[in-house]
Every structure is written in C-alpha cells, then in structure tokens.
Amino acid sequence: MSEARTRGTAPGRPSAQSPARGRAAAGSPDAAHRRELLRQMMLIRRFEEKTAELYSGGEIRGFLHLYIGEEAVAVGINQALTGDDNIVATYREHGYALVRGISADAVMAELFGKATGCSGGRGGSMHLFDSSRRFYGGYAIVGGGLPLAAGLALAGKMRGDPGVTACIFGDGAVAEGEFHETMNLAALWDLPVLFCCENNRYAMGTALEREHAQTDLALRAESYGMTAWPVDGMDVLAVEQAARRAAEAVRAGGRPHFLELRTYRYRAHSMYDPDRYRDKAEIEEWKKRDPITTLADRMRAAGEITDDEFASIDDKLAGEIAESVAAARAAPWEPAEDLEKFVYSPGPS
C-alpha cells in the first residue's frame, strides 16, 4: 500500500529520505538549487522575525501565527508544484504565500491591513489570497480548507485540467470531522489532491499524544485507501523529494496522496500565547535540527556556500524586508466608504 514508509521519524534522527547529496561544486545546478532553497527558508524566517517585532509595536494586529522552525515544509512542498497547481493553506501560511511568489510587499501590506495587501487588506495574516498564483487562501477554521481543496480538485478533474491541489493543514485538523469526510470523498472520487499534514506536534497548546488516540497520522490517512507516508519536515531536501514523488503520483494516477511532515514550531501558537504547555528543553532540542542551519552546514561542508555568501544573502533579505515594511507603512488605507465592498460581486445579478 504505502511506498517506502519510514515510521517514527523523530527529532535528532536523520531522515531516510535525505541522503546528503554528492560533493557538487558551488557552481553546479544542484548547488544553485540548494542555495535557492536556503534563500527561500531564510526569507520566510527573516520576514516573520520582522513581523513579530512589528506586532509588538502595534503596527500589525489581529492574530499572528508564526511559521518559524517549519520553513523546510513550505519550501520543499512548493518545489513540487507548478503554476497549474492550486494551494489551499491554513492561517499559518506566510511561508507558502512567499514561496508561491506573492511578493513580500504584498504580504507585508496585508499584515498591515493596507489596500495594497494581497487580499486588499480585508483578510490580514490569516487570510492571504492571490488568484493569479492559484493561491486559494489561508483558512482559519481548522479543517475548513479540506473540503474546498477536494472541490478544486474535482473541478480540475471534470474540466480535464492538469493541475493538482496541494492542501495544507496541521495535526490538529486530523481530529476534525471535515478531515475524515474529505479523506473519504477524495479517495472515493479519485480526486487529484496532495494532502500535506504539517505535524508540528501541537494543536494550539494540546500535544499530539493528548488529542489523538492514534498518533501515527499517516496511518490514519492510509485507512482511507490512500498512499501516505511520513517525512522529516526539518530537512528541506527530504521534503522536496517526498513532495515531488507524491505530486507526480497524483498527477499520474489522479488519486490523492498524503504526506505527514514532521516538524516543529519554535514560537508560541500565536503572538499572545504564554507557551506554558511545553518544555523549553524540547524547543531547544528541536532547534538543534533547525532546517536553515542544517542545510547551510551541509552546503558549507560541500563547499557550496561560504560564510560571507550566507551573510550576504541575509543582508540582502533584510534590505528587501525593510523596504516592504516601509512600503506597507506608506501604503494607503482603503477608504471607509468602501466598507461594504466585496460582500457581493459588483454588477447586475
């Protein structure tokens, strides 16, 4: 049933799917690719570190859920997607939006609630959208995006579109009825969905073991007759490889696949979260397997990147993000007279 299942990928243990690639030279295509993965992960992290600061300063409001620690998942999954594919994400979706190509300016402006944001300022952090990138949004009801992703896949299948729909959700969603209804429907109807479960071990403050009778989430997806396997979500190369295999399988067979991406968020659930439900030592343990450090170290060892180059990427990103912040600050607010726009479509109905 499952291909190459690797049970119990745990922190501290290198993933079977991430063999260190060969000693490619710094100028090789592989090295350039890894550099790009590194840059994308660093973009997400620097961007979010900045948003945390802005949140504390009161410039960003609402809920802000940070992805820091989980960057390898979004970056790796995105590598398997083309412009024809759809993404349905959650409220912790800054990373997906950025790697999908929504500009840092548009995402930052959205967090500021400005009219230039990627959702016109109407959505905020939890509801990033971009129709031109088939980014069907961040959904803030846990499990709420799954049925919709199945529907997108159904439409694609009925229309004969080539794309797959990547559906992102967390371990918390697996306890929701909508998860099980959608697993069943997608498998029953052979819908081309790539289910990506980001298992970061906590549903807000409730640990995996305290909310699931069966904590092997891939196993539960498998019970719907779906190919499913766990992946080391701290290793971007492992994620990329697994995502490519799964996406190709979905494309080829038109059947849904399921990846359980085992990862960890360093930050609290949201900014206003005392984070009392876990041991600080646990966080430190996971930080030892930080996806950015891990990849950078590997590249350094292979001679694919120098400290200076690393610092230069970092500086360049910092500059870009600073510009996004400045642009967001300067951007206009939507006039209050437009308040009731976007409730119904304009024009005759």
Partner: protein, 327 residues
C-alpha cells in the same frame, strides 16, 4: 405551443435542473441520493440516466465535505448545484456555508467569488418531527455574502435556478417540502425569472399579508376568507429573503397601512422580526395599526399531527390577525 401545461412544483424544479444541465457544461448536481435514488423528494428522478454519474453525483453522507467541495468546484470554474436533503442537515455544513462560501469574496479582497447554488428542502407539515421539519432560512438570511431564495410558485420553481446559477455569488434556494406536490399549469416556454424582487400575489387595499415559501398559499387562502368578510387583503410574496426587496414591502404598507407577517420560522429573531423592523424604520408614519406576526410556536416541531398543526401558522390565525389590524 404556449398553452399552459399541467405540472407540479417538483416537475418544474426538475425541468429547471435539466435546463441548466443542458445550457451549461459546467453545471452539475451533487448531493445525497440525488442519482440512483432519484432525490429524497424525487426532484432529480431520471436525471442520472439522462446525464450520467459525472454530472449527477451521489455523495457520501458528508454534508461538510460535499458542500465544501461544491465551493471548491465553483472556485475552480464549475457551476455546481448542491442538494442538501433538508435544512436540518445543512447545519452539518454550516462551517462551509458561512465561514467559506459567504466570506471568501470579502476576505480575498474581491478575488474569489463563489458561483454556487445550494438547494434544500425546508419546513414542516409532514409529521417528520424535530429533526426534519425546521425552517431556518431566516437564520441564513442573517448572513451577508449569500443570497436566499424561497420559490413559492411553479414559475419561481422553474425560473429561479438558472438566474441563481448565473449569479457570481453563492445562492441558497429553500424549497418548502409541502410544495413539491403543488399542482398547477406552466407555460412550456416558462424560463428564468428575476431573483431580486418581491411579488404582489394578490392586490388589495385594506391590509397587507406578507409571506414567503410554504406560507404564501396559506396567506392567499386567508385573503379569500377575508374578502368574503369584506376585507380586501393584499398578499406579498417575499421570494428573495436576502437581500430583501424593501421597496415592494414599503409600497404595500404605504397603500394599506396595516400588515400581518407570516413566517414559518420561530417568532424570536425571525425573518418576520426583520421585516417588521424595516417597516417601522421606513414606514412608521404610514402605520395605522400595530404590526401583527403569525409565526411558528416556539417549540421544536412535534410529531403528532394535531400538535404540529397547532405549532405552525395556519389560515385561521392569519385571518384573525388580519382582522385585528382593521378592527
């Protein structure tokens, strides 16, 4: 060719679905038992044979999943018609209807509209007790972002669906289960109708009865009785419960100055309450009697016939309320 033909509400609805499937390849019907079974109210009987299982899709009993899939399919370029057996079951899909369908256009800053139609049976009168009989359309009419229709006539059963499918936003159609057997005649070329205006079903001068869906027939019967007593009642059928057609409502009040609102929803926080508030806001100085309401008693619908009858708005109650307004 245009001689009206005898038909029923059910057949008119089926003709509307067939017409939509023929007009537009993007249209498909999905829901529980819409295919082989033919629909729990037999609305889609025969369509599976005609259009095949791709377009007449039987779903698992997963209201959230198939309503959500309808939303996704609409986002993905299709024009789904999702059938939910009865309004009570739609509560299982409430997250999808309200948090997604109604909100997507807004939270995406206008990027994603959801051209979806959801049909469901509503209402009591068939001794189906408290989990198959409620009238929650007024509740849905509270939600911005969706449109709510209540066809009460054969013309509307035949004509509202296509207009709803052409609407870029989600539309919910509530079909009162007692209407499916309603008989009447319909022009063979009957087609789409507007979904934005209320309709005056009977013109009158002395007072107005406002009803919708399953209670329009009762309102018209009451108007007949009132006419015999020398009271000339006007009957307004709301047709579209959201957005409400204030203009037609208020014009009638300005004419008759007296009104009875009939609503199969419970009185507290009902659609009738909303209409009453709008009348007070917009036509206060035209009222010559307090607004009267005839609503369902505030109990879950009971099983025994006599108690169910007692719970629902009935003709004598409408007549009595109308008489109070002109007493």
């Amino acid at each position: 060719m245009s001689t009206p033909q005898p038909t029923t509400y059910r057949e008119a609805m089926r003709a509307a679905i067939r017409d939509a499937l023929q007009r537009d390849d993007r249209v498909f019907l999905m829901g529980e038992d819409v295919g082989r079974y033919g629909g729990s109210y037999a609305v889609s009987l025969g369509l599976l044979e005609e259009f095949g299982p791709e377009r007449i899709r039987d779903t698992p009993l997963s209201e959230s999943a198939f309503v959500g899939a309808g939303i996704g399919a609409a986002l993905g370029g299709m024009r789904p018609i999702v059938e939910i057996m009865t309004v009570n079951f739609s509560l299982l899909a409430l997250d999808q209807i309200i948090n997604n369908a109604a909100s997507l256009l807004h939270m995406s800053g206008g990027q994603f509209s959801v051209p979806l139609v959801i049909r469901m049976a509503t209402g009591a009168g068939r001794q189906l007790a408290a989990q198959h009989s409620h009238s929650l359309e007024g509740w849905y009419a509270h939600i911005p972002g969706i449109k709510i229709l209540a066809p009460a006539t054969l013309e509307d059963a035949r004509g509202m669906l296509w207009t709803a499918l052409e609407d870029p936003d989600p539309v919910l159609i509530f079909e009162h289960a007692s209407l499916y057997n309603l008989e009447g005649t319909l022009a063979p070329d009957a087609g789409p109708v507007d979904i934005s205006r209320a309709a005056v079903r009977r013109a009158g001068a002395d007072m107005t009865v406002i009803a919708y869906g399953g209670t329009v027939g009762k309102a018209l019967s009451a108007a007949g009785e009132l006419a015999a007593a020398g009271i000339d009642a006007e009957v307004v059928d709301l047709r579209t419960l959201r957005p409400l057609d204030d203009a037609t409502i208020i014009a009638s009040i300005r004419k008759t100055h007296r009104v009875v609102l009939v609503d199969e929803g419970w009185r507290s926080g009902s659609l009738a309450a909303e209409v009453s508030a709008r009348i007070t806001e917009q036509a206060f100085y035209d009222l010559d009697a307090p607004v009267e309401r005839v609503c369902t008693a505030e109990v879950p619908i009971p099983y025994p016939r006599h108690l169910e009858d007692a719970a629902l708005p009935q003709v004598p109650g409408i007549v009595a309320a109308a008489r109070r307004t002109v007493a």
